[in-house]
Amino acid sequence: MMRAIPSLNGRELTLAGALLAALLIFFAASPYFATADNLATVVRNCVELLLVGLGMTLLLAMGAIDISVGMAMGLAAIVVGRLLAADMNPALVAISGPIVGGLLGLFTATIVVIGRIPAIVGTLGLLGFYRAAIFLSLGGEWLSGLPTRLTTMLSASAGGVPVSVIVILAAYLVVWLAIRRTPYGPHLLAIGNDEERARLSGVAVTRVRFATFVISGLLCGLAATFYVSTYRNVEMTIGSSLALDAIAAVVLGGTSVLGGRCSLIGTVLGVVLLRVLQNGLLLIGVPSLWQTVVTGALLLVILAAEVASGRFSLQSLRWRTY
């Protein structure tokens, strides 16, 4: 959906409303919610999911999917961690993440695009493959207590705004420009809508699909850099729930799993809403085990509400490439 004037569509409005409602409820229910420290914590918790979610948004808009993103982030984190432990220049360490991520994206794209395997199945296979790779690269150990040089570099603030926020804003801006101002956007959505028709219209389908997987990989690698800098630990179970959480956030945001619709704002709102809920619930005393239930229920409520209000457009279920 290309709009000349940026305005929020129905889903985005609903999410914004839900987010506002959540913020107000938590503000009223807990005196500790609206403190600077707490809000900073929430923002920090959003970083990896925002980055991986951005990549997932593009993939879903294209009609593809990638459930191995958590493992890709893990592999990139291992490289970042090892380089950090080896005393490399923090700036170089920081970009090693996206580089490894991009390479992994390239590999994933090769399997899915060249191998012509449906993305969901191909990435299901890669999930296991990357997971084994993580374990074998770690040698069954963890990377713990990594040096703080990267952390200091990335947790600095430029004019009061944390570096992480700046990087995320930049990433979203770049992608937004690519979608709105270059042919990439229309081509992406065309493939998502109907790949055959796109191909016949002259869209370089293979190239666009490759590019999207690589971009998603780059973003996962960037998320890995932030992960290592924030938590200074790379464990074997790293990223295990990331793929599904990212898909949930993106779907919440209104990007269609069938492809053809893309909402960056929706993804941001979805991620922030999820993290705000997790934080707020704990603050008001709801045990952490209920957080997944709330996530699922939220997804169901929003979807059902849209169907009930008639705004959900019945898309044809004629199936295309995933």
């Binding site: 191998g115 012509r116 395997i117 449906p118 949930a248 085990l289 229920a297 979807l303 059902a304």
Partner: protein
């Protein structure tokens, strides 16, 4: 559409050859593991996965981007519900009924959202995955629920001539029933038609939505049956018993030759794939290979089999 049971498709041949290779390898490297005991082990660990994969296979076959990510969560939640109900006084004799009905109910919920509200299965089952698995943990605080009625345990752990009883009495009949329904009834043909080309199916008058509702309910029923087996076998209700089942069952279904788009493939392939997966796991464990290799090999295997399938079958 030739193969209801996945008859002569290359996938089945690949699976059988791999199975022969694995067993052959085991015979060479560890001769004493070729025994009835190992077969019992393989079948015992295949039972739960087989039932869940059956449900997943039906869901994928009926098309409409069918997938059920909530099966694992459903198995966990059914176990928890059954045990909690037993604790509050429901007679233990009714446990099997409770399991099946709860599973059916959870599956119906999915089906209603997919078929009636027309929400995409991936999204629906992702949401219900979160809800079901989360509820199982939240309601119990993570603690295993003991108190499985004593009459179930001998069934859960027993075997007849080396074949575990649950496998014999639940898994095999379920697959046979499904095979017959899919192959010999008109409803079965409808399922394939819906998956193959939904528009045409609707035009011809097939009640697509109602059939889909039933399929998702059946998937829930399979999850309920799998949960019953886990209760009878382990002797307690574990709230995370279904962990990872959604991805493993999907892997088995894909390995079994079912097309992710629906309408192609057979549950015979799914059955064979489940057996191959568990045999492969057993093979690696008997050789004391680090269990992470299982994960990696199965992932690579899935990609490999699909690549081979791509090369030998022309796409529609």
């Amino acid at each position: 559409m030739s193969s209801r049971l996945g008859g002569r498709s290359p996938t089945l041949i690949i699976l059988c050859s791999l199975w022969v290779l694995v067993v052959g390898g085991l015979a060479v490297l560890r001769p004493n593991s070729i025994s009835t005991g190992t077969m019992t082990t393989v079948l015992q660990f295949a039972t739960i996965l087989a039932l869940v994969a059956l449900g997943q296979g039906l869901v994928v076959l009926c098309g409409g981007a069918g997938i059920d990510l909530s099966v694992g969560g459903a198995v966990s939640l059914v176990a928890v519900i059954a045990m909690l109900l037993t604790k509050t006084g429901v007679p233990g004799l009714l446990l099997p009924v409770v399991c099946c009905l709860s599973g059916l109910g959870l599956g119906l919920f999915n089906g209603w959202l997919v078929a009636k509200l027309r929400i995409l299965p991936l999204i629906v089952t992702l949401a219900t995955f979160y809800v079901y698995s989360g509820l199982a943990l939240a309601l119990t605080g993570g603690a295993a629920q003991s108190g499985v009625p004593a009459f179930l345990i001998p069934w859960g752990r027993g075997d007849l001539l080396g074949v575990p009883l649950p496998f014999l009495t639940l898994a095999i009949p379920a697959f046979l029933a499904a095979a017959i329904v899919l192959g010999a009834t008109s409803w079965g043909r409808w399922v394939y038609a819906m998956g193959f080309n939904e528009e045409s199916a609707r035009l011809v008058g097939i009640p697509v939505d109602r059939s889909r509702l039933i399929v998702y309910a059946l998937s829930g029923l399979c999850a309920g049956a799998a949960s019953l087996i886990s209760l009878a076998w382990l002797g307690s209700g574990r709230p995370n018993i279904g962990q990872n089942l959604e991805l493993t069952s999907l892997t088995a279904v894909m390995l079994g030759g079912v097309s992710i788009f629906g309408g192609r493939g057979g549950i015979g392939g799914v059955f064979a794939a489940v057996l191959l997966l568990v045999t492969l796991q057993t093979f690696l464990l008997q050789l004391n290979v680090n269990s992470i290799w299982q994960v990696g090999i199965v992932g690579a295997l899935l990609i490999g089999v699909l690549l081979v399938d791509r090369l030998s079958v022309t796409r529609r």
